[in-house]
């Protein structure tokens, strides 16, 4: 693992991804202190409402980027930058919750399949297959159309659609761990099943899952923004990147900054997560890691 980090730490794309995500996460966590207008970010109205000179919009509170409002303001006069930072917080939170939920469900199913085998394995694998062949967006749409939009609905709906990938991965790794000697020794010593799963198999199956988790963070954030854009996720006035893009639709021809900045932030966020996952993936793949190592000019042989 240390070897992996030494190579990755010299990869500029990976570094960009990690640094960007880190900065955004810290900014989102401390959103209240970082943004210039925190109350507007959370959705309360701006007082006094800003007046913008000479703008062709019917609503005078929509101001272009200026010194006071770096990204401009939206139709309720709220500062866009603050809204974006708070929106990032919502998006990141939902991403984390979704991936956590999917991992928990996927791990439980995958580990049970691998450990118990037999008919439990067969049944669970069929169920996993069924969920895998379901289109994710439709399942999420239907779930949310039934239980209504909102923060909880979104991450529950998305988590329920994504766990099959984790289950498959967990099952594969757990199967190979199960045959290791230390597991057989634990069984021979009479350790309870629960103990074996939790203390031996689980920690050793986590490694490939982390790559999947980071890739899925990007996809989860994108899916959540899409659902909010359709009005089925987070509803306004709670700030969320998808909601902000949705709100900008009516002002597309007059206030371009409303559409550009939230989407740009969303894109860079998802890009960073994808870069991180992609780089780790490339490193783990023996065919392609040779190319990275060569290009980053490791001339001396690196020992594990």
């Amino acid at each position: 693992m240390l070897h992996a980090f030494r190579v990755l730490a010299r990869d500029p794309l990976f570094l960009f991804g990690v640094v960007f995500v880190g900065i955004m996460a810290i900014a989102a966590a401390f959103a209240f202190y970082v943004t210039p207008y925190p109350s507007q970010g959370e959705g309360f109205a701006a007082e006094p409402p800003p007046k913008c000179p000479g703008l062709p919009t019917a609503i005078a509170a929509v101001c272009p980027p200026s010194l006071a409002h770096v990204f401009g303001t939206e139709q309720n006069g709220r500062d866009l930058l603050s809204r974006i930072v708070f929106g990032m917080r919502t998006s990141l939170l939902i991403g984390v919750y979704t991936v956590a939920l999917a991992t928990v469900i996927g791990l439980s199913v995958g580990l049970s399949e691998a450990f118990f085998g037999g008919w439990i394995d067969e049944t669970l694998m069929r169920i996993t297959d069924i969920f895998l062949s379901f289109p994710h967006l439709i399942l999420a749409l239907v779930i949310i159309a039934t239980i209504g939009p909102g923060f909880t609905s979104v991450f529950v709906a998305l988590g329920v659609t994504w766990w099959p990938a984790f289950a498959r991965l967990a099952r594969g790794t757990a199967l190979s761990v199960k045959t290791q000697n230390f597991v057989l020794a634990a069984k021979a010593a009479g350790t309870s099943n629960r103990s074996i799963i939790v203390r031996h198999i689980l920690p050793n199956s986590l490694a490939p899952l982390t790559v999947q988790m980071s890739l899925d963070m990007g996809i989860a954030i994108l899916a959540e923004a899409g659902l909010s854009y359709l009005g089925l996720g987070i509803r306004p006035p709670t700030a969320d990147l998808g909601v902000l893009i949705f709100e900008s639709q009516n002002f597309l021809t007059t206030a371009w900054w409303l559409a550009l900045f939230p989407g740009l932030v969303l894109f860079l966020l998802v890009l960073s997560f994808n870069l991180i996952g992609d780089r780790i993936n490339t490193y783990l793949d023996p065919r392609q890691s040779a190319l990275i190592v060569k290009r980053l000019q490791f001339t001396t042989p690196v020992s594990r």
């Binding site: 379901f134 289109p135 439709i138 749409l141 899409g226 009005g231 559409a259 994808n274 793949d285 392609q288």
Partner: protein
Amino acid sequence: MNVGAYVIRRALLMAVVVLGTITVTFILSHIIPGSPAVLFAGPQSTPAEIETWTKRLGLDQPLYVQFEVYLRNILTGNFGLSWSFSFDPILPLIEQSLPNTFTLAAISTALAALVGIPLGVEAAKRGGKRVDSILRVFSVSCVAIPQFWLAQLLQLGFSVYLHVLPLSSYGGTLLYTQLHPIHTITGSYLVDALLAGNFAGFGAIAWSLVLPVTALSLYPIGVVTRQTRSAMLGVLSQDYIRTARAYGVPDRQINYRYALRNALPPVIVILALVFAGSIIGVVFIEDVFVLQPGLGHLIAQSTGTGITSSAIGAVDYPLVLALTIIVVIIYTISNFVADMLHIYFDRRLIR
């Protein structure tokens, strides 16, 4: 296990998924708040009227009887009436919208193949060098761009500021088609215009489809580039390629005749999956560009969230559930085709 058994197994899985979806939608249709009887009876109806409607809709029967009726209805194609389209029957609505969406998805899949495969080959050819890195970042970016935002940006750039391409597509050409009706053969505006020899109409519709297709294809291009690149890298490291090089076979021939041909199978499988994904991804595009009639437009309208829907949150439950079933059917058929392609190319995949 031989090929026949595998095919039967996948077909059975397909049937199970579809049946499971129908069951789930049936359960959901009974969980949702509000009873259809109340809706049909109207806002100020007496309990007696609601009672009549309940009997008429068969809602007072035991659950398994209702399910049997539901199943029989669906298998004969009766999906019920849509709430948001003035109680039109649903199946004709969907039938009307499918051809346009299929056209869009097919064009974007073709574009993904035409652009993605050469880019992937280029990236694999110079593995590890600068061009490869740039193409890696490009493909990862394509996958990361939110499609609805990209659609808005394209509208902003090309329609609003450059006045080059139309803002909303069939919305503009819908007017065109109402003025110059296109004889309907397949149901898809683009194909029908071509088949009827109406080149002016074909040009207008194709021009208005440029932006939506671009917005729709960028994600598949990224996926196909990445997949081609990794497949090509795998093939290029093989011994027979090295032998061909040692024999002095020119590089271009190696890349295209030997390597690409062997790298194509997983790419073709991905293309089938990309087609399936495009059918669903079309939701955002058809919403932003107001492409009606279309499957994505129906989906956005039924969940009460499209640009043209009258009330946000006015969910049209029969339509949503019917669309779920239809989309799942399309999706599982595409997955099945992808599976068949997969084993056609590589028998070893059958365990």
